[in-house]
């Protein structure tokens, strides 16, 4: 059990309410450089998730338990007396009241800013009635040097070391402002042996504990030889200190300064940063309070500028009187730098495992090939334009992206009987979800289904590049016994031409700079159709061939780019993308129809097993 005048010591363990990962780690880092035996956090209370949380204890990792509710945490850790409440202003009241209702919890730190005054007063009154302490609302908290740190108090570890907060000095400090706590620790460290305890009560009008509450604890704490305080314009809290001084209740030297003396030159309507910082009468001004404190015997500087000097003077006096001694500095364990911080400071480097050259989601807006998404939309780039950015890393001219969109429309569907659609339908009928059914369909795309686009592009390109005449090409393929990919149609023929092919060719003739490969393919077609009317250039072949012409018509594509399109199977990608539209349609169609499981009719299967073999020996 800690003495009443100490809210925290080297054994204090707290609950942290709210999943504040950084603050939790900072508390543990502080513990480590203070050489605590146990972490200052017993458990985390996270209404969103129970389980464990992994933290560093120096360079090792340890686990902190995490509970959903305060009572669960209390049941497991009955010795815990402190809760650091990071709940938002919307829910901090309920969490604080619940914590105060736990007999074991003696101190609650309320970090949230913007707690309504009425709620703050109820929390305060409840705590006082129970003989408990609230620090806050609207505060970073405070710390006991060498023992316990509340949340983010005192900032970085460098600062903690700089202000010697890893071991006790002789000064008790209290202020309203949490923002000034770091500076105060610095001032105290530079002008005395350092801080024993420093608390920021928060800048609200009705703080849960006031300046005098903490001053009286410091007065009772034998480790503390002198007290430093920063008050603030507005409110009458400092007059309680004046009264206590007058009544002789504060015997230790008190160096105090009330900030906000400039309020006299400011228009009355200027609200300082803190909700409580506004003088409603002369009595509440900083000047009046400073004078009253000075009259009551406190050490009050002329301005903040000699606040540190006054602390120094008092410290030197106490030292001369033998009441305090300079501290022998203990060795301070160092904490490894956090990896992310080291990266930012350029202290470490590591090779990356993955490379991405097409998009970037790290900034405020995602980039497609270097172009922000909003710009993509603004420029009306369309799906074709987006494919240009993400597949080719190029801004395609609009005629090219429109061609791509035309292709996507053409390949979007080809009825329910083709492999992909059939597979997707069967999967959907089997009750599989949309994505599984889609994957089932897509997995059929390959050398025999949908692959003709790629194959046609590859074969025609190869033939032309190697200088084969259309005749030679046709003969070569015949010799190998291979059908020329992209040639031939089940129904369509010279007399009954494919409308889709006509559209594609018409478009290419109008917009492409060159249609060399197409012209070559049409020469091939003349030869093949002479043999048989349906050996026409089909839609797959037309797409594959024209795509290469498209690339040759655009500036910026090299021969190597064209080769890689053929090699890497870009055109299969185009088919898969377009056909996905149709597949999803088929899958949804089956789901809407509530189709039952599909079973292929037995009479449609020729069962041709080997002859029965006798199993008898």
């Amino acid at each position: 059990m800690v003495e009443w005048y100490k809210l925290f010591d080297k054994k204090t363990q707290a609950f942290v309410y709210g999943y504040q990962v950084n603050a939790i780690q900072r508390m543990l880092d502080f513990d480590y450089i203070c050489k605590r035996d146990t972490p200052s956090i017993a458990a985390i209370i996270n209404p969103g998730r129970a389980g464990i949380h992994k933290v560093f204890w120096s360079t090792e990792e340890i686990l902190l338990p995490m509970y959903r509710t305060i009572p669960e945490a209390v049941a497991e850790h009955p010795h815990v007396e402190v809760m650091v409440n990071f709940a938002s202003y919307r829910s901090t009241f309920e969490a604080t009241m619940e914590a105060l209702g736990q007999p074991g919890i003696k101190t609650v730190v309320v970090v949230a800013e913007g707690v309504p005054e009425r709620k703050a007063k109820i929390m305060t009154a409840t705590a006082r009635n129970l003989g408990k302490t609230i620090i806050g609302p609207a505060t970073v908290g405070g710390l006991v040097a060498g023992a316990f740190r509340i949340g983010n108090t005192a900032g970085t570890l460098e600062n903690i070391v700089e202000s010697k907060l890893y071991r006790p000095g002789c000064v008790g400090f209290v202020s309203k402002s949490g923002g000034m706590l770091n500076e105060a620790f610095n001032i105290v460290a530079r002008n005395s042996s350092g801080i024993v305890e420093g608390i920021a009560i928060g800048g609200d009008r009705y703080p849960g504990s006031n300046l005098l509450d903490h001053i009286m604890r410091y007065e009772a704490n034998p480790e503390i030889a002198m007290i430093a305080c920063l008050g603030e314009v507005g409110g009458t809290d400092e007059y309680r200190i004046v009264e206590a001084l007058k009544e002789g209740k504060i015997t230790k030297p008190l160096v105090i300064w009330v900030t906000g003396t400039c309020s006299k030159v400011l228009p009355t309507s200027v609200q300082f940063g803190h909700a409580g910082a506004r003088a409603d009468s002369y009595q509440e001004t900083a000047d009046a309070k400073n004078q009253a404190l000075r009259d009551a015997g406190a050490v009050v500087p002329v301005s903040f500028d000699d606040y540190g000097d006054k602390i120094g003077e008092v410290y030197e006096r106490l030292k001369a009187e033998g009441r305090v001694k300079d501290v022998v500095e203990p060795e301070v364990p160092s904490i490894s730098m956090d990896y992310n911080k080291a990266v930012v400071s350029g202290l470490v480097r590591k090779p990356t495992t993955l490379i991405c050259t097409i998009s970037d989601d790290r900034g405020e807006e995602v980039l497609y090939g270097g172009k922000s998404l909003s710009k993509v939309i603004e420029d009306e780039m369309g799906i074709g334009g987006v494919i240009g950015l993400l597949w080719f890393k190029k801004e395609l001219p609009s005629w090219a992206s429109e061609f791509i969109e035309m292709v996507l429309q053409i390949v979007a569907d080809h009825g329910p009987a083709v492999s992909a659609a059939h597979n997707a339908i069967v999967a959907s009928c089997a009750g599989k979800d949309l994505i599984s059914s889609l994957a089932s369909g897509l997995l059929t795309i390959g050398p025999r289904f949908g692959g003709a686009i790629d194959d046609a592009a590859r074969e025609f390109k190869r033939a032309r590049d190697s200088g084969l005449t259309p005749d030679q090409f046709v003969n070569e393929m015949k010799g190998k016994g291979i059908n020329i990919p992209g040639i031939g149609h089940r129904i369509k023929s010279v007399k009954n031409p494919d409308k889709r092919v006509e559209l594609l060719i018409g478009y290419a003739r109008e917009y492409f700079k060159t249609t060399d490969l197409l012209d070559y393919a049409l020469q091939v077609e003349q030869i093949t159709t002479a043999k048989k009317g349906n050996l026409i250039l089909n839609v797959d072949g037309c797409i594959g061939i024209l795509f290469l012409d498209l690339m040759n018509s655009c500036d910026g594509f090299t021969e190597k780019d064209v080769e890689s399109v053929v090699e890497l199977g870009y055109l299969n990608g185009l088919f898969a993308l377009g056909r996905s539209i149709g597949l999803i349609g088929h899958i949804l169609d089956q789901k809407r129809l509530q189709s039952r499981l599909y079973r292929h009719p037995q009479d449609d299967i020729a069962y041709m097993l080997p002859d029965p073999v006798s199993t008898e020996r």
Partner: protein, 425 residues
């Protein structure tokens, strides 16, 4: 995040709307009309027919008191008289206390003739332990002179107002109106507590035909209640205090503040002042300005403000440019130098170097004007990456040809103030 005043019009609308929920047999019509510079008076009269039927009171509604004493209340007027009065006063500059500003908002209500002796006073004020209810039979303009006649009833925060015997605490001289007043005060308190008020004063209220009518109302809300009062407050506006029309630059910073997650504040106090501050953090910014005043240079303080909450480079760049622009618009008429204090305590987690980058960019933009206005710059800051930040500043000084003195946490936070005032001025 603090207490803020609301218009009398809005306060009375809330009383009219919600008070009947709290008091049995209570009615207050709330015949209220708010006039702004954009109001079409004829349309207003069409909307509120009582304007043409009743005698009227017209008074400014801009969060300042003692309107009668300033001769700004028109009593017992016809609609035509009210219109003439509004045409005359609207947008007119007036002096109230020490503040001058234009009249922009007026409240019109029915005029209720009554004797001054019949004016009652009730107020509720928030305090540390709870709230205090004040009541006086001697209401009206002289309530403060007769403060000894005011009854104060403490309501502890944990008390239920229904458990307090208001009847026995209110003056017995209320006679047969005692019950009615006790009910009224009780209802008023419950409305105050439920609807997020921090201050509510009705001075005076009177009895008209046995009914209580509030004549003058002053109210402040605890604006941290916004989340819980989003329904009950949805029609409220948050007026700027009287005379505090924002300058263009102040409005620009206010806009910037509302658009970023950081906190950026600027109040221009005296654009001719020679001491300009750009301080990180609310606590530190007050202390820098304090110290300038404490050292006797209050008259030279040009601005008050702060930047905090880990502002981006962009934010500090815009903020700094605004201040530099104001500060270098004209040279001191007597040819004296000006100083800019770029101050701050030791930051918790704000990257000092990063915030300084924006400041440096702005200083570079204003290089020539800074020289012309004879500006000297003093810097003091600590916190994450401060060494790098200070180095950037020192290098800038060499490059810019503007004197820049740079200090870190080893130097007391405000030491650059006496330095600047001694050497720089």
């Amino acid at each position: 995040m603090a207490q803020r005043g609301i218009r009398e019009h809005d306060a009375k609308v809330m009383l009219a709307k919600y008070l009947p929920d709290y008091i049995d047999n209570f009615s207050y019509e709330g015949e209220l009309a708010l006039v702004t510079p954009d109001t079409d008076l004829e349309a207003l009269a069409a909307k509120y027919p009582w304007l043409k039927k009743k005698k009227l009171v017209v008074k400014p509604d801009q969060l300042f008191g003692k309107r009668g004493a300033h001769g700004l209340v028109l009593l017992d007027a016809t609609w035509d008289q009210a219109k003439d009065y509004l045409l005359e006063k609207m947008n007119k500059e007036v002096l109230v206390g020490t503040t001058t500003g234009p009249l922009t908002h007026f409240l019109i209500e029915p005029f209720i003739p009554h004797a001054q002796d019949d004016e009652l006073y009730a107020a509720i004020k928030s305090g540390y332990q709870g709230d205090s209810i004040y009541f006086s039979m001697a209401g009206g303009i002289s309530v403060e002179e007769n403060w000894n006649q005011v009854t104060k009833i403490e309501v502890n925060i944990m008390d239920d107002i229904d458990d307090i015997d208001l009847r026995s605490k209110l003056p017995s001289s209320l006679g047969d109106r005692l019950d009615q007043v006790a009910d009224f005060v009780r209802g008023l308190y419950r409305l105050y507590a439920d609807l997020g008020f921090a201050y509510l004063e009705i001075n005076p209220f009177i009895f008209e035909d046995g009914r209580i009518v509030p004549l003058d109302v002053v109210a402040k809300l605890d604006d941290t209640e916004q989340f819980w009062q989003r329904e009950t407050w949805k029609d409220l506006e948050s007026p700027e205090p009287f005379g505090r029309a924002l300058s263009e630059e102040e409005r620009y910073i206010k806009d910037l503040d509302s658009r970023t997650g950081a906190s950026l504040k600027l109040t221009i106090l005296n654009p001719r002042g020679r001491v300009w501050t750009m301080v990180a953090g609310g606590g530190a910014s007050v202390i820098y300005t304090d110290t300038i005043c404490d050292l006797g240079f209050g008259g030279e303080v040009a601005n008050y403000g702060e930047y905090s909450g880990d502002p981006s480079t962009e934010d500090t760049y815009e903020y700094t440019k605004t201040i530099l622009d104001l500060m270098t618009r004209e040279k001191d008429p007597q040819g004296r130098p000006k100083v800019l204090l770029i101050g701050g305590g030791i930051a918790n987690f704000t990257d000092v170097a990063r915030t300084f980058k924006g400041i440096v960019m702005a200083l570079e933009d204003y290089r020539d004007r800074l020289k012309e206005a004879d500006v000297k710059i003093y810097v003091r800051r600590g916190g994450p990456n401060y060494e790098e930040g200070l180095k950037i500043m020192r290098r800038l000084g060499e490059r810019l040809g503007v004197p820049i003195e740079v200090f870190g946490p080893e130097t007391h936070m405000t030491r650059i103030v006496p330095m600047a005032l001694d050497e720089g001025m």
